[in-house]
């Protein structure tokens, strides 16, 4: 693989991934052991489990063995996808997570796409009209987007648009109707998707708009913009082909860093709107103290964020040759 290719960069970043995941998993491991009470309680809850089974479970998980042995067993389990069993549903946690994942994916992808498109557009416009009312509006919007608690925003939107105006359903992903064909179902889901997606988009929008704006302002002062203009290119070409491409690069990285916050936002939003995704799962698990689920979510989210950062870094390297050819 020639140096400077994306492949070698991707491999290098992939290699860095391993220790990070390792750390997350280790923390998870120690969390149970450090928490008050018998660690086994975090694994079986207060379900009436016969004594022999408890002893067997202890043996299986190695609680009677030295710590390093326990760690190995634990790591082995994780590698096989065994995250334990949910207290409530008695199903394997991994299965539950996989089952709830699509709903959350739908919500996240929708809000990211909307936030990126709207955010970049707002950022570009406010950079071009620096100092105008629009510019001040966008800056204020980004501050508000940071300050407003996302769950409260969801509640307010629900109050106004669902309770008062009756435009959108307040909760859930699907109505309880049996007469909808596949297309009708899709529309129904979309209908339910609007309020939670708008909530999350607003939460995300401010940061992207602000970042695009400040990058655009910086880039527009740079020399190669003067060069592009001196070639007689139309202003639109200069802005979109030259300036935006450069200004948008950091936004790619920010998306990766932002994911953690957006996942937290998703948990809160799904709770408000009873959207049947991983966020709502977390909320339910908290209420029932379903520790296996909670711990698995911790590892899962850590894993997802690391992968997302990896992907955004690779995307950045693809877009910016300066990184690759160092």
């Amino acid at each position: 693989m020639k140096s400077g290719s994306i492949g070698s960069y991707a491999l290098w970043r992939l290699a860095q991934l391993v220790p990070i995941i390792f750390v997350i998993v280790i923390v998870n491991f120690f969390l149970i052991r450090l928490a008050p009470g018998d660690p086994i309680a975090y694994i079986i809850g207060d379900a009436p489990v016969p004594e022999e089974q408890i002893i067997e479970l202890r043996q299986q998980l190695g609680f009677d063995q030295p710590l390093y042995r326990q760690l190995l067993i634990y790591l082995g389990n994780i590698a096989q996808g065994d995250f334990g069993y949910s207290f409530i549903s008695r199903a394997p946690v991994l299965d539950i997570i996989v089952q709830r994942l699509p709903a959350t994916l739908l919500l996240m992808i929708t809000q990211y796409v909307a936030a990126i498109i709207a955010g970049i557009m707002l950022g570009v416009v406010s950079a071009r009209r620096q100092g105008s009312a629009m510019d001040a509006g966008v800056t204020l919007l980004s501050v508000v987007g940071f300050a407003v608690p996302v769950f409260w925003l969801g509640q307010m939107l629900m109050l106004v648009f669902s309770t008062q105006l009756g435009l959108f359903p307040a909760q859930g992903m699907l109505s309880l109707r049996y007469d909808l064909g596949p297309f009708g179902k899709a529309l129904d889901i979309a209908h339910h998707l609007v309020l939670p997606a708008v909530t999350l988009t607003f939460f995300n929008l401010g940061l992207i708009a602000r970042l695009t704006r400040s990058n655009m302002l910086q880039v527009l002062r740079l020399e190669y913009i003067i060069f592009a203009r001196s070639k007689g290119l139309s202003e639109r070409t200069v802005i979109y082909k030259h300036a935006l491409r450069n200004a948008v690069l950091p936004v790619v990285t920010i998306i990766g860093l932002n994911l953690r916050t957006m996942i937290a936002g998703a948990v809160l939003t799904e709770t408000v709107f009873a959207w049947p995704g991983l966020g709502r799962l977390t909320f339910d698990a908290i209420n029932t103290r379903d520790y296996p689920v909670l711990m698995a979510m911790f590892v899962f989210v850590g894993f997802v964020v690391v992968i997302a950062n990896l992907l955004t870094d690779i995307a950045y390297a693809y877009l910016d040759p300066r990184i690759r050819y160092k």
Binding site: L222, F227, G232, R245, N246, Y325
Partner: protein, 329 residues
């Protein structure tokens, strides 16, 4: 003798920057002209207003600067009166600019070939035709392996190759005027010579006029037939290069030439000009050079000197010559 009308005629160009700290007069009543196919030079220290004049011609002066006075005529068309769209046509078809540090002026995330090709009018040409023109331009600037260069990103090329690419980007539009702002300053000495001879070669090949801006007198001398000397935003001397160099009239020009090291000439002491550039927000009264001028007189402090015609085509803005000869402005 009737002369053909000049290609570019600049009269009393004045450009100012309106900053939070006050108004900075970057160019003050600059008057010069370039004939078709001619190469002229603008020389001066950094901060003398040379680059801003170039940007003013193209109307690309960055904020908070603005052209506030004067006339710029290209083949009879008043550039300052054009709309933005018409000005863009001018930039695309008639005037091209080459900048000082190509690594800053080329877009780092676009391939070089694309950057050269985007200046071409694509409306009637196919993609292959455009690509062919790009390659031809790269060959004309003597880049080895033009195909590979076109596919590369700027950081993969050397400084000299980058500058050649910038020149190629100018070439490809067949402009009537090329403005080169310190094109060799950021390059190694050996490469400098190559770029300059390239410019000279192109000038004859496509009959382009060149405005060469530099602080380096040797650079100007190698390419330009006439030279304009700028100091503190004003024109202080102008004339045929040979005449100005052999017989510099303005004390500033004398100082500039005197500080050149000639390896064949043994000098006792290196003559150095005292002082530094004046603050363009609050320039000295009268003649702006008077604080540093070894021959300053009382009138120099009080009143701004006129442009005096010292000999045929050779002018100097200095009281020393106002007594004799024609006062041309």
């Amino acid at each position: 003798m009737t002369e053909a009308p000049p290609l570019l005629d600049v009269e009393d160009l004045t450009t100012r920057f309106y900053t939070g700290r006050g108004v900075i007069g970057a160019v003050e009543k600059l008057t010069f002209h370039v004939n078709e196919g001619e190469a002229i030079g603008i020389v001066g220290e950094s901060g003398s207003g040379k680059s801003v004049s170039a940007l003013s011609i193209l109307r690309l002066v960055p904020m908070p600067g603005r052209v506030v006075g004067g006339r710029i005529t290209l083949r009879g068309i008043d550039l300052l009166a054009l709309s933005e769209r018409e000005m863009r046509e001018m930039r695309r078809k008639h005037i091209a600019m080459i900048f000082q540090d190509p690594s800053n002026f080329l877009n780092p995330i676009m391939r070089v070939g694309d950057q050269i090709g985007e200046g071409i009018d694509r409306r009637e040409l196919s993609k292959q035709a455009v690509a062919r023109q790009v390659l031809e331009a790269l060959q004309a600037v003597h880049i080895a392996d033009p195909k590979r260069a076109a596919d590369s990103y700027p950081l993969q090329l050397s400084g000299g190759q980058q500058q050649r690419s910038v020149i190629a980007a100018a070439l490809v539009r067949r402009p009537s005027l090329i403005i080169a702002d310190e094109p060799t300053t950021a390059l190694d000495a050996t490469v400098q010579y190559q770029i300059l001879s390239l410019l000279g070669e192109l000038q004859t090949a496509i009959n382009t006029a060149i405005i060469l801006i530099s602080h380096d007198l040797a650079v100007i001398a190698s390419v330009c037939s006439r030279v304009y000397v700028m100091y503190a935003a004003q024109l202080v001397e102008s004339g045929p290069t040979a005449a100005v160099y052999r017989n510099p009239c303005h004390p500033y020009t004398q100082g500039l030439l005197g500080s050149i090291l000639d390896p064949l000439e043994r000098k006792e002491k290196l003559s150095v000009m005292a002082g530094s550039l004046p603050d363009l927000a609050a320039p000295p009264s009268g003649c702006r050079f008077h604080p540093r001028c070894p021959q300053a007189m009382a009138v120099c402090v009080a009143r701004e000197p006129p442009n005096v015609q010292v000999s045929d085509g050779h002018t100097a803005k200095c009281w020393l010559y106002a007594a004799r000869g024609d006062v041309s402005s």
